[in-house]
């Protein structure tokens, strides 16, 4: 793929933006072009948060997702809200423990729906969902191989998390990578 449109979505406080930043920065480190734009900035709490990432081999004019190639949602509201902006047949990753409000069969028919026990695995290891976004990032890496490798992902993580937390963050990443 020369260009890929990815949308991460969830709720405030889940670190959705960081998730997007990690994916885009990893691609940048790998020498590719990447944008990360968020429709929802500072002054917001609660509600839906999303981070758009567009990866490309060269500069991309429109930096947002028009129709996603990959949609990653951590809450049912955000899935509900963004599913109709996903390309038919595209990949949709959802946390296993969210309640799908849509007709699930329809979803499965129209998209490549992937349910993953992200929260579960995160709790299992950390007894909190604090690192849920990093676990998710780890899981998602496999879909973005055209743009960066696991090493780039680790480098991106290093650039974006406080040093004192890095070991734990890395562990979370690995959980995702290995899911």
């Amino acid at each position: 793929m020369d260009k890929m449109e990815i949308r991460f979505a969830g709720t405030g406080g889940q670190g959705i933006i960081l998730l997007g930043v990690l994916a885009a920065e990893a691609a940048t480190i790998a020498g590719n072009y990447a944008t990360q734009g968020s429709y929802y900035g500072a002054q917001v709490r609660g509600g839906i948060t999303s981070a758009d990432v567009v990866l490309g081999k060269e500069w991309i004019p429109f930096p947002y997702v028009e129709k996603s190639d990959l949609l990653v949602t951590l809450t049912s509201e955000s899935l509900d809200h963004y599913v109709n902006q996903a390309k038919p047949g595209s990949i949709i990753i959802v946390d296993e423990n969210i309640i799908i409000l849509e007709d699930q069969d329809e979803l499965q028919k129209n998209f490549n729906l992937v349910r993953v026990p992200l929260t579960h695995k995160c709790f299992e290891r950390f007894n909190s969902n604090f690192f849920l976004n990093i676990v998710t990032f780890g899981f998602v890496v496999r879909y973005l191989k055209d743009f960066f490798t696991e090493e780039h992902a680790i480098q991106a993580l290093k650039n974006n998390v406080p040093e004192r937390l890095f070991d734990e963050e890395l562990a979370a990443l690995r959980i995702g990578l290995n899911l």
Partner: protein
């Protein structure tokens, strides 16, 4: 006669800050193991009977999610 209190928690409003849990002088509250739909581990007034009605939990809850009510014995009797 010992006063009795009933404690109501509005789980839709609670944000799991756990002020109530920690401030209660009688350790009335416990925290649920699993996460709720909204992504929080819920507060449960597990030991309601121990409550002395000091209202600290209610007053200090920033989210108006706790109400402590004295059980009206008079009404019960009638």
């Amino acid at each position: 006669m010992n006063k009795k209190f009933e404690i109501e928690i509005n789980q839709d409003w609670c944000k799991a800050c756990y002020i109530c849990v920690k401030i209660c002088p009688k350790q009335v509250f416990t925290i649920s193991e699993k996460e709720s739909f909204r992504g929080f581990k819920e507060v449960i007034p597990s030991y309601e009977d121990n409550c002395i009605g000091c209202l600290q939990c209610e007053n200090m809850c920033p989210d108006f999610a706790i109400e402590v009510r004295e059980i009206d014995h008079a009404v019960e009797k009638s």
